[in-house]
């Protein structure tokens, strides 16, 4: 019996593939295999002999089966290893391309501005791009003969023959939304109005359409000092700096009184804008206390209410913050520009996560 065991274990160890192993299995422990034949011999043995031979044969059978299973697993492992050795890939090949979409800087910056002012209690108001000359001019204390009308390079809409109303205009600023919002909401109120505006001007720093954001806060005792604080807080948050000097310069806008142009302290060292340091001043917006006539036009009693308004260019502050050189390129949709200056879809500006990264 030891010979038998030795013979099959040697054969199993030497088997090179599964077919050989199967042949060995049949020869050893198959129904007609040698072990089976030996089992049959048990019938002719004495009970004493059987008591010795029976367990020994069973043990032999188990041992051969185990050896067969182990060898089978070893062969499979070897076969897998061999196959995997063949399965080599050049993983430096490029992957499948995923398109990378982008958000336009105007949209991104509008969301940044909205996030900052929302924190200060301002909601977002909107108005039509085509508006009446009353909302765009008269209600804002710019009567028909006012030189500001001519200076604004207004686009006028066509008037049909027989329609004698004054022509509508493409709004030259977001200020008409002030009037519409006053009419709709009344005082007190705090709104910003971002959106596209139009002036008939086209050169390397002007495009016939651009974007502004207007701010308006009306309450019982809002002062120009509050305006300055709001703008300081805005500029700090928007440009993501710890401190910034704002300079108010007296100016004139028909719809505010007093009026001020606002400059921020900055430096242009090496052609890069740094806000909050240096000795240069950069004009970024116009502002003032809402003119009583404008409040009246919006249906708000100027004896009881007062407030401030300001307006600035969204495209302009986007250019300043992100170092975008040419305004005209904003509207050209050059794929290279969109990819370079655009923002990822998940770069949603928040105050808790930061406006930019």
């Amino acid at each position: 019996m030891d010979d038998l065991k030795q013979k099959y274990l040697t054969q199993i160890a030497g088997a090179g593939d599964e077919a050989t192993l199967e042949t060995i299995r049949l020869a050893a422990v198959g129904k007609k295999g040698e072990v089976a034949l030996k089992m049959r011999e048990l019938g002719g043995m004495t009970p004493e002999e059987r008591q010795v031979a029976g367990p020994a044969l069973n043990a032999l059978k188990n041992e051969i089966n185990s050896a067969l299973a182990a060898k089978k697993a070893a062969l499979a492992d070897a076969a897998l290893d061999a196959r995997l050795r063949e399965e080599w890939l050049d993983v430096t090949l490029p992957a499948r391309s995923r398109p990378r979409g982008t958000i336009h800087p105007i949209s991104q910056v509008t969301e940044e501005v909205t996030a900052i002012f929302a924190e200060m209690g301002f909601s977002v108001a909107e108005g039509p791009r085509i508006d009446t000359d009353w909302y765009n001019f008269d209600a804002l204390n710019i009567p028909g003969h006012h030189p500001a009308r001519a200076e604004m390079d207004t686009f006028y809409m066509h008037r049909a023959e027989g329609d004698n109303r004054p022509p509508h205009v493409l709004r030259t600023h977001t200020s008409p939304v002030q009037i519409r919002s006053m009419e709709a909401m009344g005082a007190p109120m705090r709104i910003i109005c971002p959106g596209g505006v139009y002036r008939a001007d086209y050169d390397h720093t002007h495009t016939p359409m651009f974007h502004q954001v207007e701010g308006l806060a009306i309450d019982r005792d809002i002062s120009m000092a509050n305006l300055k604080w709001v703008l300081e807080e805005f500029v700090k948050a928007f440009f993501e700096v710890d401190g910034v000097d704002l300079r108010f310069r007296a100016s004139h806008f028909p719809f505010t009184e007093p009026s001020a142009e606002v400059d921020i302290r900055c430096s242009w060292e090496g052609g890069t804008l740094k806000v909050g340091e240096g000795d240069d001043w950069l004009e970024i917006l116009g502002s003032g206390m809402v003119h009583p006539k404008v409040l009246k036009a919006g249906g708000i009693d100027p004896e009881s209410w007062q407030g401030f308004a300001f307006g600035m260019g969204i495209d302009r502050i986007a250019m300043l913050k992100y170092g975008i050189p040419d305004l005209r390129a904003f509207f050209d949709s050059d794929l290279r520009w969109l990819r370079h200056y655009g923002f990822a879809s998940l770069d949603q500006p928040t105050l808790h996560g930061g406006l930019s990264r």
Partner: protein
Amino acid sequence: MKFTLSWLKDHLDTTATLDEILYALTDLGLEVEGVEDRGAKLRDFTIGYVKSAEKHPDADRLRVCQVETDEGLKQIICGAPNAREGIVVVVAKPGVYVPGIDTTIGVGKIRGIESFGMMASEREMELSDEHDGIIELPSGEVGQSFVDWLAENDPAKVDPVIEVAITPNRPDALGVRGIARDLAARGLGTLIKRDVEAVEGTFPCPISVTIDRDTLEQCPVFYGRVIRGVKNGPSPAWLQDCLRAIGLRPISFLVDVTNFFTYDRNRPLHVFDADKIAGNALRVHRAKGGETLMGLDEKEYTFDEGMTLISDAGGVESSGGVMGGLASGCTDETTNVFLEAAYFDPIRTAYTGRALKINSDARYRFERGIDPAWTPYGIAQATRMILDHAGGEASEVIVAGKIPATDRAYKLDAARVQSLVGMDIPESEQRQTLTALGFVLEGNMAHVPSWRPDVQGEADLVEEVARVASLTKLEGKPLPRVTDGVPKPILSPMQRREAIARRTCAALGYNECVTYTFIDQASAALFGGGADATKLENPISSDMSHMRPALLPGLLQAAARNQARGFSDLALFEVGPAFHGGEPGDQHTLVSGLLVGRTGPKDVLGSSRAVDVFDVKADAEAVLAALGAPAKVQILRGASAWWHPGRHGKICLGPKKVLGVFGELHPRVLEAMDVKGPAMAFTLWPGEVPMPRKTGATRPALGISDLQAVERDFAFVVDADVEALTLVNAAMGADKALIEDVRVFDEFIGGSLGEGKKSLALTVRMQPVEQTLKDKDIEVVSAKVVENVSKATGAVLRG
């Protein structure tokens, strides 16, 4: 508005430095746009004395001069004919830049003899065109800076020229005196009295003036007088210097006088040649329409009804407040001059100037509003200047009409000033400021000076006080929060939708564009627009003549531009307004996406393929889902003509509720817009997606069955034009409780099925809720599916 520092100092007695003045001007609201410091470029020139001058041994015209300079005796070779011993000269030493010849002086040898500098002519220093010889100064110390010498002896040559931007509300600051007044109010000096006594006439004015009764509103007053026996010609040097410094060309003395007062006092004047006024009478009247005049600018103008004209017996001689006529203007030969000082109404002047497209200094000032009360002083001042320089004899002044009243007063509420501005400005300071600006205070009523037409209410007083007090000093004060605690969200549902649509499109791989909202008529017409209602009256170019009816034409133009640059695989989108009319509110928000070319660049994996309708369908569905649109929609056909008629679908909730359209764009549209197609696109109407009814954030409970779902596949043969969705809906209807989902997984057209037939294969997923499905149950549902689908579409189960 330009003026020189010395001109300002004619009105303002001040010790302030130029920098202090510039700072104050900007701070007061008279924004300094530029300063031309004409002395700066001559800073390094010094004064020298020619001790000796010998002829150059090798050149007849050159002289070898020994010149005393601040650095000792220097040898300078000079070719100027007047270079000689004993003259005081201006020296540029080696290293000095000479602007007139654009050269930096070096040490050089001229014909073998060394020269250590140069003696300069006026032209070489850009002081004048004078170049006959080098400058000989009547005085000056050796080594003294030439600029200092000029400042002392000929200040006009180095006078800084200041340019300020004047806002439309400040006509008074269009005169140097108004600017001086602001500075004086700020405390930078005191105003110098400049007004002269009236000049009595010695004979009656030979020319009469009348204003038509119906014209008194547009020309309420007209002062005039004749000065006879004058000698016109070039102006004195100081006047020429003044005008040249601010960019005006001196013409002749009489004309220069009018220009001087225009800038000195914001008081436009006009001078007629009295001998050319026919009939010795001028009449101010409204134009009937059609009259013509050759203006001083030698252009002919035709007048509309109602414009203000000044005519004599021969016809129109001047357009009041806008421009004088050429025929009656003064020339060098003029000996008798008629001087006009009138007041023309700002509004009328503005309209006339705009209609005639004349941008004259007179129009600019009259339309902003000159000081009517100063009219008699203006004529006196100009008369005095003419008599002093051109001689002659003045007639009595004739006056037609009367000076319009400007007196009005507003209450100064000191507390309100502080409340509005948020600065602590004492009442006494407020009153002092207003007084310095020319207001007259009677109690707390401030009477407005006649030169400030812009002051029309209490708010204007606040502005005056604030700007003189200096807004630079304003300190920010926190704006109280609207409510305590965490701010509430502020975006409206539509505003959120726009942001969500935008970020979903970007997440799907589209690049956001912002294109002009006006496009050319032809492109607008391709997309159902281009009507006159959306036309701009004054477009900047024909490419931007009509408000866009849709976003796609702008995106297609962007695609064409990118294709021309060599970029052919494009995914562009825009979220923005489109316009269906020309009235305010005739706009609606759209979301449009455009795919052109392939899904990506060619790659080793072969994954790149041409974009197709099902790309944009998936993207449209993804955006709509993000906007909260229901999952169950209808896909209908029959969208607008710019879509491929067979390859588009409208995503609808009912036949009239269209949420969006996706599909291939019509090849003719692409061809017209120069886009290499095919191009796939979608347009969504985010406002059409129904607003959710629920109010809370809670979701309904999740119902999951533990029972095994069963899937069965069916292949149907149908006519080729039967739509898959019809089969899906019919299959879904077979058992609404049990059938959870029906998916199309195969389409096969033609082949063995024969012409006009196709096979569609569906997977029907059944999800039991109460008990496990038995074969019998499944057979019953399957039979119902086949029956429903056959009934709805004529389908036959494929064998």
